[in-house]
Symmetry: C2
Subunit: 418 residues, 2 copies
């Protein structure tokens, strides 16, 4: 009753329940083990638990490790997990087999590929990135250019200015496919083409797009990419991250951390390092088996879905959420970040609010978990595999209440966030 | 009966069973989940499964991850695991709290610390190591000196010549505490003191000593150390590895992979990297939670034991094994590697045999799992927490049979290993 006099009208919750009834992805929700009392809108930070993961881990721990011990490396394919899981991720990002491998953390993987990229462009000294890039990517790049001691430089410009800064000094363009705050999707293919015209390589961070939307690294001509395992791939906390090196570069691509697992025959104990010519040569130390096994479950679950359907549902969820928020006048101090059109945004939506941290806490009290990003951003992630349309309606209603509570408290002098 | 006429006499199996009865460490064996049909002498390559690990993993996966999702990082201390597990490992290697952290793989950790060491000694260009060092350590060091482009060099000399090669050009001495093949224990304190007299830093690889014997990095004046989690720490396949940086170096120590988790406030999303002054500053990416939880169980189990007792039992087991092998004339083609005295060897014993790989396979057929190290080494690891004296007797008997079988086959022309 309360919303019927406002314009635009707030749609009824029942219409959202009806959307769930016709959602082709709805059956996949049962393949996750989710808490029943929570609307989880932070799956783009840590994906939810795939229902098959506990049993898969148990099989490896109490089955393989317990019984077969050190034979597991060969007998159970542990040593090949970086490649088998890598190729499975490759299928999600449009990479033909033999170009993706799961390594250590995203930051460490990025360091290795960025170093390798600079080695491919010895006369060029600029790493070009944008202000919207994830801070860790910029930290790693900044640290690295200061190490290579050839007068290298990290040049960080506004996103829209990246192409204009392409020049003969740029060795590699380092960007995120989807902005971790605003959700803006960058045109990978277009920027990649312009970078190549300028003689530069591209290194794309796919953390917020791998598993969330169709990605076509081969088709788009991408040179290098990294991405994490714990967001849309649902690999669990601290899951290992992947690396992609295009087959065009792979034969002559070198990386700096030349540990034994990247050797073409690690168990020969050769005194001299000979890089494995496959993506295995990107690896350094012993593969993190437990993390790989959990990641494999997450990736396997994703491959049951159609990425086009996942993307379409993400657009529908985020678009409806934004419209619901806009339809309630109490939310006028929530400032949408990034593009207005859902098609130009990834699977998350962010708002600025002067008391963002308090809003996030109020949402959690109402059973809605979202992410606070300092200093003033509330981020809502919509993982289409397990977030329902009804959750969108409920979250928007909770947000309106949370904002009202916080703003009342501020007006009463109870909060000091402004 | 058969052994009573040989000299030296082969002791009776019962005397070994009796030793088990009085072994103070015997009760700890029940804290492992071991296969019943196997004598596992490869725990120095992959430690056995601690009985508490499956439940600990399950609690984190089906409890914390499932229910609390992204809140786990703070609510369940996931973000602190590198430090909490690091300090627990520190207690095993004689490091006061605040100097050890669990990072990624040993090779990656080594790369970071070695880089940091060179940065501490800018005028010096030599990394000094020995021919007995683990190949991966040499690969990493060799790769690194070629990157830093200051005319750096990896100098690899016979172990006994290391001290003689210390000079004003040596930046860092990189050695393994225990030789991965021969088991020889290097005098850490003595070499460290000589290195310091020459103005060099030391970086010790503790992979084969951490958790296997008393180690006193602080007392011995060690500067830097790394070690893996999956051998004597029983952290599981591909467990993350640790780093030690002495408090003397830590305030000004830098490492090259400056990812966000090493930032003093990673969730502030500061555009500029500010290194955490604690060992957290050695980290790069998201901590591998599953691997850390499993490692924590292994470390916790070790801390129930006295490292002096562990070491004493390792000496007793390896010494008895060597004597049993020597007492059987059929074993005369097995050539013991490394020092003759058990006190000078770690927890493993290696033999050369011209058909080593076949001997290893024959042992496995007899229910004894050991390690083959190319080209001609059979390695027996004795993990005192779960290897019994009776296992030593049985393994020695099986070895004699295996050698006889292999040598007969060779004499019959059935094998071509010589």
């Amino acid at each position: 009753m309360s919303g019927t006099t406002t314009a635009p009208a707030v749609p009824d919750r029942d219409t959202f329940v009806e959307l769930d009834r016709h959602d082709p992805l709805a059956p996949l929700r049962d393949h996750f083990d989710l808490p029943t009392d929570l609307i989880y809108l932070d799956g783009n930070s840590l994906g939810a638990l795939p229902a098959g993961t506990p049993a898969a881990l148990d099989a490896v721990v109490r089955g393989q490790w317990r019984n077969d011990l050190n034979r597991g490396w060969t007998q159970h394919g542990w040593l090949r997990l970086p490649v088998t899981v890598g190729d499975a991720i490759g299928a999600l990002i449009g990479a033909a087999p033999g170009q993706v491998v799961v390594g250590e953390s995203t930051s460490t993987n990025l360091f290795k590929l960025l170093w390798g990229a600079l080695a491919q462009r010895p006369g060029r000294r600029v790493v070009l990135s944008d202000t919207g890039n994830f801070p860790s990517d910029l930290y790693v790049a900044d640290g690295l250019v200061n190490l290579v001691s050839g007068g290298h430089e990290l040049r960080v410009v506004p996103t829209d200015d990246v192409v204009a800064h392409l020049g003969p000094d740029v060795a590699v363009v380092l960007l995120s496919h989807v902005d971790y705050r605003t959700g803006e999707i960058l045109p990978v293919q277009q920027i990649t083409e312009r970078a190549h015209e300028a003689g530069a390589l591209v290194l794309w961070d796919l953390c917020h797009s791998a598993g969330a939307m169709p990605v076509h690294v081969d088709e788009w001509g991408v040179d290098l990419a990294v991405g994490c395992g714990y967001k849309h791939l649902n690999g669990g906390p601290g899951a290992p991250a992947f690396m992609y090196v295009s087959h065009r570069l792979l034969p002559r691509f070198t990386q700096p951390v030349t540990g034994w697992i990247g050797h073409r025959d690690p168990f020969a104990f050769d005194p001299v390092y000979h890089r494995d010519p496959s993506p295995v040569g990107l690896l350094s130390g012993c593969p993190p088996v437990l993390g790989l096994v959990a990641l494999e479950q997450g990736v396997r679950l994703l491959r049951r879905a159609d990425l086009r359907q996942i993307r379409d549902k993400a657009v529908a969820l985020t678009d409806r959420f934004v419209r619901l928020v806009a339809a309630r006048p109490g939310n006028r101090r929530l400032g949408l970040l990034g593009p207005a059109e859902a098609q130009r945004r990834g699977s998350h939506v962010s708002y600025r609010h002067p008391a963002a941290e308090a809003v996030v806490a109020e949402l959690l009290r109402r059973g809605v978990m979202v992410e606070y990003r300092p200093p003033d951003v509330v981020r809502f992630g919509f993982a289409p595999l397990y977030v329902r349309y009804a959750d969108v309606w409920d979250a928007a209603a909770a947000l309106t209440e949370a904002v009202a509570t916080v703003e009342t408290a501020v007006n009463d002098g109870g909060l000091r966030h402004e």
